[in-house]
Assembly symmetry: C2
Homo-oligomer: 262 residues x 2
């Protein structure tokens, strides 16, 4: 899903080896527990297996929804070149979707079944935050994907080595981030009052994203258990709080880089 | 663009060697003139070069528009599996678009400039034929792509070897044809009166496609000259008439195969 990333995103590991470094600062430098195991070993624990199926299902549906959103935004593109650029991003999201559903099938999980629990939350998010113009679409793609990517990277550090490699691969920056940043910055420079409107829009996006995420976590036991502890290297609740702080902080920095007050 | 093809599409060559066979029945079995030359030789003729740039531009914009249409139709999909199937087709169209624009750049033509003359006709076609439901979308994709593919295959036989190989590659059936045929047939079997509505819809699509195609041909000198003669192996006007007959006939057969009266 991650296709936009500012060069200055702080403290986000980009390689599997670095990502395995624990983010909570309490563990040792070397991965331990699940994070040191491969899928064959880790999946012997049924609750861990269920959590990974949930995670891959949520991620896969997110990619499919991102594909649709980008294809939609392509219609708002002011030039043919912009349209082609968005179509390219949409196609990249679709290929991430395919890798995730291939993986679900490979671990004997039915992709549709794995995605369905997350369809409503993601559809609602996109319905409630339909951009009204090209710039709102760019800000949404940038903000939404950055937050989702930060979140999945935090989770990835706690996954088995095989699942982690896949998750990091589909979050890999495909170099499109600069596209949104450049276009939005140029628009604000040309007409500064656009910045105020887009800053409000970014705040609304963050609010809707958090409220849908909360709903998903409340609904999905396996996933939540992995996140808040109980399975192997899960977070404790205080750590979840710190994780949200880190994500919010990174968001604030990205908004500033974009010329927007967060 | 071709992603749907009935197994019984008549007389449509599928390989470059076969496609080089003249369709007007007057020439010999071996390609002659332009059809026997490679791009380096054929493009020495400026009018031929301009016609190919037009053709690739029209085809590229068609792929981009098809991408958008399929991504849009994915929203109407009744199931997650159907949605994923349409997204896959859309991504395939985008990759065809990329091959065509890469080729335009390789022959020193600016892709945007090459596409722009065809944008309005294709946009108008899609605007005037926006499907109101999932089945209309499937019929449109099937009918529209089949007709476009028949047309480009006829033209391909008259192109230089390099351009012909590219055009046939992007028209290559990616195996999605059966998807639309199966879904539409099943819907008509389940509710026969759906067939009458879809038959009317297919006729309207054919009418709009022909009227936009006519507009393009009237506007674009280089392309028209290649089609109606004047450059190398161009058609004569009687041959254009026969070509339209062949395309209409193939359309009628496809509609019958779909369970629709054409």
């Amino acid at each position: 899903m991650r296709f936009m990333e500012t060069p200055d995103t702080p403290d986000q590991p980009t390689e599997p080896a670095a990502a395995a470094e624990p983010a909570n600062g309490t563990a040792a430098d070397q991965p331990t527990g699940i994070a040191a195991q491969d899928w064959a070993t880790a999946s012997a624990e049924p609750q861990y297996r269920a959590a990974v199926v949930d995670l891959l299902g949520a991620l896969a549906y997110g990619e499919l929804a991102a594909f649709e959103r980008l294809a939609d935004d392509a219609k708002l593109a002011p030039t043919l070149g912009d349209k082609a650029a968005l179509a390219k991003m949409a196609a990249a999201e679709f290929h991430h979707f395919e890798r995730l559903t291939d993986r679900l099938r490979a671990i004997d999980a039915e992709p549709t079944g794995a995605m369905e629990p997350f369809a409503k939350a993601l559809d609602d998010f996109h319905r409630l935050t339909a951009p009204s113009d090209w710039l709102e679409g760019l800000v949404k793609a940038y903000v939404g994907d950055s937050i989702a990517s930060d979140f999945y990277r935090e989770v990835a550090a706690r996954l088995d080595t095989d699942t982690r490699a896949l998750v990091l691969a589909v979050l890999d920056d495909t170099g499109h981030g600069n596209f949104a940043v450049e276009k939005v910055r140029a628009a604000i420079e040309a007409e500064p009052r656009v910045g105020g409107r887009l800053a409000l829009w970014a705040r609304r996006l963050m609010g809707e994203a958090l409220s849908q995420a909360q709903r998903v976590v409340a609904d999905r036991d396996a996933l939540s258990t992995m996140l808040v502890g109980g399975v192997a290297d899960g977070f404790d609740l205080a750590e979840v709080g710190r994780m949200f702080s880190r994500i919010t902080e990174a968001h604030t920095k990205r908004m500033a880089a974009l010329g927007l007050a967060a």
